[in-house]
Symmetry: C2
């Protein structure tokens, strides 16, 4: 039985299913056959659209990063909100899994997903740094921030936030989190050169 669809439609079907599986089961743990079964196509069809399983991963990561960036852009451009709030919200609007179920979030960042994780981190930094650099420049102009290396600093803050709180790389007890969050915010204040305590309000945002 042969069900023919227009190319782009099939491609999106495959991407959708693969994304769901990669995120829930892990990239390595998802076989091409798993995808085939759900999309209900033959192997040849899969490889007609993608050169490899890894190419699918790359496309998915690009999508995820792009969605996060779009959310960030929306948040950042609303100048009725205080700048610091916009920046914090833009950062937290990454890791789209946060919105969905906790389970998915937990599954996404596993040892088995090291490849997905690493590619995501790389792509996210590349896409988000310029966006937040503009925001930081705005803060410098408004005399809110005082720093010499805005690009390098926002890059570091993004990386830290992601590695500490989104990746599962740190295996902390629940009880450690308050100190970790406080520490992160304190260092963020220092790096941006805001007044100390400027970010204290965001403590509860992490709950």
């Amino acid at each position: 039985m042969k069900t023919v669809k227009e190319g782009e439609v099939r491609k999106q079907e495959i991407l959708m299913v693969a994304r769901e599986l990669f995120v829930t089961k892990g990239y390595e743990q998802t076989s091409v056959n798993d995808i085939l079964k759900i999309v209900d196509i033959a192997k040849g069809t899969f490889y007609y659209y993608f050169a490899s399983k890894e190419e699918v991963l790359a496309a998915i990561i690009l999508d995820i990063v792009e969605e996060g960036a779009k959310r960030a852009e929306q948040i950042l451009k609303d100048k009725s909100v205080p700048l610091i709030n916009r920046i914090m919200m833009a950062m937290m609007a990454q890791s789209p899994e946060f919105e969905g179920s906790e389970e998915i979030r937990d599954e996404m960042h596993k040892v088995e997903n090291a490849k997905l994780e690493q590619l995501y981190t790389k792509a996210m930094l590349k896409r988000m740094t310029p966006l937040l650099e503009v925001a930081v420049a705005e803060g410098i102009a408004a005399d809110l921030f005082h720093l010499e290396y805005p690009r390098e600093t926002i890059e570091s803050i993004l990386l830290l936030g992601h590695m500490l709180f989104d990746c599962n790389i740190m295996d902390w007890e629940m009880a450690d989190y308050p100190a970790k969050i406080r520490g992160f915010l304190a260092n963020m204040e220092r790096m941006l050169g805001t007044g100390a305590g400027e970010l204290e309000d965001f403590l509860q945002m992490f709950a």
Copy 2:
């Protein structure tokens, strides 16, 4: 033909060969058969000593991290050297590949090695944070550093240093490096609460 050796010897042989291969070719790209060929043993012998290929990886990472920690301990205890220098040197004494050829270093941190990389980062942080926490406490006592969250801060500095300069996660042009290093040192100064410019001397150390 059967060559019998004492258990521990065989185990070390396997670890040595596997480490060389994992670091040069990548973990995923190295098959168990590749290891078998070089050690010149049968598959059964490999699985007599290790439950899985991944268990070998875990053991190797533990070794690498432990070696780095030992070097750091040596460096940190020599109180004739200024504290800041000791801390910087201890950090740079990680990534053992730095000592060896540049090629090996470049190969180690590749996309294909995401798993190795992630496990290494995790283990390194766990092992190194307490060591440097002591050093930071020394700095606070000596009125050199001024900060509220020493543990969280040194954890972040270690993580940043590793992610920015050891991992290949950032694909920077050669020309970007001076700014990246300056930015990192500036943020390190701020996080530790030293006088600005205190770390400038270490710029050339990165060359």
